[in-house]
């Protein structure tokens, strides 16, 4: 039943995560989120290119092929809302820039999904008749792009100080033919598998109140799905299996997010990762 993954991870293992905030100085808030390592592969790339493609060594592709990296910038709140938006609430505008190529239907779909996800976590009644712009720039895409973008957008919103009810943590789960579920696939794994699902959950709650107060319909609040987008056909049981794995992984992601954002608090002089 063990599925062999190309990079040697076990099915429940996520790629190494890295989150840095306040990297763009003009934006009100910004963050970059990457899943996977780059530097190990870069040295091999350079070495290879130097001997085989000597003429191209100055233009060689430094970024390795093992990571997904997204940069998010937040500007806002700015005055005024767009024509079709409700002026009694704050509105969120998302602009998605792909790494290469023109903006087409996939980008528009990502914009709408991200907008609706962020609208459900931000408190929209605090600053009515304002627009907050979230700009997503894809730096590198190697699988699980939309979850990476949602995580980056959340971190950027925290960096900008936009009021939110809770954070959103996003994860990608793939379902293999044998019914086995793997987490955080690379692009090759996404294409080979039967189906995959992008799942977004609220982050886990650290509270001094007893557990019982946070149960809704018999389940803790962080088990509710904010967003789910699936590709490829899978059986209903496989989907619920993916949901369980996704929830467990989202607890780990929540901890990582909490740790990396807490280290950015003012008064903490240690360098952020």
């Amino acid at each position: 039943m063990e599925v062999d993954r190309a990079d040697g991870r076990n099915p429940n293992q996520l790629r190494p995560l890295a989150c840095s905030c306040s990297i763009l100085h003009r934006a009100h808030g910004s963050a970059s989120w990457s899943q996977g390592f780059r530097f190990i592969q870069t040295s091999h790339f350079y070495h290879f290119n130097l001997f085989v493609f000597t003429s191209k060594c100055y233009f060689c592709y430094w970024v390795g092929s093992g990571d997904t990296k997204v940069l998010a910038a937040v500007y806002g709140p700015k005055a005024g809302t767009k024509k079709n938006e409700n002026p009694e609430k704050a509105s969120i505008e998302v602009i998605w820039k792909p790494r290469t190529g023109q903006i087409g239907k996939p980008e528009k779909e990502y914009e709408i999904i991200l907008k609706r996800t962020l609208q459900s976590i931000c408190i929209l009644t605090i600053n009515p008749n304002t627009t907050t712009s979230v700009i997503i720039q894809v730096v590198h895409d190697d699988g699980a792009l939309l979850p990476c973008a949602i995580n980056a957008a959340c971190a950027a919103l925290v960096d900008a100080g936009i009021p939110m009810k809770h954070l959103a943590v996003a994860i990608c789960c793939c379902s293999a033919e044998s019914g086995y579920c793997i987490l955080d696939p690379t692009k090759l794994e996404e294409q080979k598998m039967k189906g995959f699902a992008y799942l977004v959950f609220p982050n886990s709650i650290l509270s001094v109140l007893p557990e019982g107060s946070s149960l809704v319909q018999g389940e803790p609040m962080e088990h509710g799905i904010i967003t789910s987008v699936t590709h490829g056909a899978m059986s209903v049981d496989d989907y619920f299996h993916c949901l369980e794995r996704g929830r467990a992984a989202s607890a780990k992601l929540s901890d990582f997010l909490r740790r990396s954002l807490q280290s950015k608090l003012p008064g903490d002089l240690s360098k952020a990762e």
């Binding site: 996939p106 999904i113 609208q119 509710g224 699936t230 056909a233 209903v236």
Partner: protein, 302 residues
């Protein structure tokens, strides 16, 4: 806040239409408390659905689908093209979804509707995920010629559940599709018009007769709204604009989950809600399957 009290006082004195415009959420919640909706449907019932095939006579396949007032017209045109190098024995399907200004007062000319590219992308993902179309069937001469299928869906009236109606019209159009006859003429594929079929003996037809595509698992969908503890099946556009959390479940005839699409929304979906939505979709798949079968057999009798 003065608002809750204001609506209680005014509700007995105001006309129903005015109350519906001024306090839409309260209006709907009063109905939901009685387990009914303003158009007298129970919460889990979808609107009346009809399909009519062959609506566009000049197209190779077409269908008009109506779910309540939401109307979608799907038409398929086929063209011969050279297949790509990565898949030399596969054809191609291109799906486009248009929302002309006729469909809704919110869509104006010159400014494309926000929902249009999203529904188009969702449709093409769903149709390719479900495996309904086997692209290898669209190949004519391996490596040299294959069919390019252009599916265009026009929304004629947008009254909620756009994706459901669009998917239904696409599936019906594919069921109605008849691949035209072509022949090989000096190494080029030429379309054979109807009249010349008997006369031409020197042109060897590549496919002898108009044939239909064999369809794999046919996907059907249902959109539900989640609001507090209620699940409303098949929302109208008024309901969608007030209660914004939508879940679209697509199942195929073998009950495989093709897609579960929940783009954000204020209400979180717990396992019980997801299971209820899937159960509602299963019922709906049976209804839609029957409606599609009746429409197909209706066409064949003619």
């Amino acid at each position: 806040m003065g608002l809750p009290n204001a609506s209680e006082d005014l509700s007995s004195e105001m006309e129903v239409d005015a109350f519906r415009r001024l306090f839409p959420l309260r209006y709907f919640e009063r109905h939901l408390a009685e387990s009914i909706r303003p158009d007298a449907r129970p919460l889990s019932r979808a609107r009346d659905t009809t399909i009519s095939m062959g609506a566009v006579a000049s197209a190779d396949g077409s269908a008009l689908a109506k779910i309540g007032s939401t109307t979608m017209l799907a038409a398929i045109k086929m063209e011969v093209m050279t297949p790509s190098l990565e898949s030399p024995d596969e054809g191609c399907v291109s799906i486009d979804f248009h929302m002309p200004p006729i469909c809704s007062p919110l869509v104006r000319p010159g400014r494309p509707a926000e929902a249009a590219p999203v529904v188009a992308k969702q449709l093409s993902d769903t149709i390719s995920s479900s495996g309904m179309i086997n692209l290898k069937e669209l190949s004519l001469v391996g490596g040299k010629a294959a069919w390019m299928v252009y599916l265009d869906i026009y929304c004629l009236d947008a009254d909620g559940a756009l994706f459901d109606a669009a998917l239904l019209s696409a599936v019906a159009a594919f069921s109605n599709l008849q691949i035209p006859t072509v022949s090989l003429d000096d190494g080029k594929i030429v379309m054979l018009p109807e009249e010349q079929k008997e006369e031409n003996s020197e042109k060897e037809p590549v496919n002898k007769e108009k044939r239909k595509l064999t369809l794999g698992g046919i996907p059907f969908s249902l959109t539900c709204i989640l609001h507090k503890n209620y699940i409303l099946a098949d929302p109208t556009s008024e309901e969608e604009s007030i209660m914004e959390t939508l879940v679209t479940v697509v199942l195929d005839s073998s009950n495989q989950l093709v897609s579960l699409y929940k783009p954000g929304g204020a209400v979180l979906a717990y396992t019980s809600a997801v299971q209820d939505c899937i159960a509602l979709t299963r019922q709906r798949v049976k209804e839609l399957h029957q409606i599609l079968e009746e429409a197909i057999s209706g066409m064949e009798i003619d």
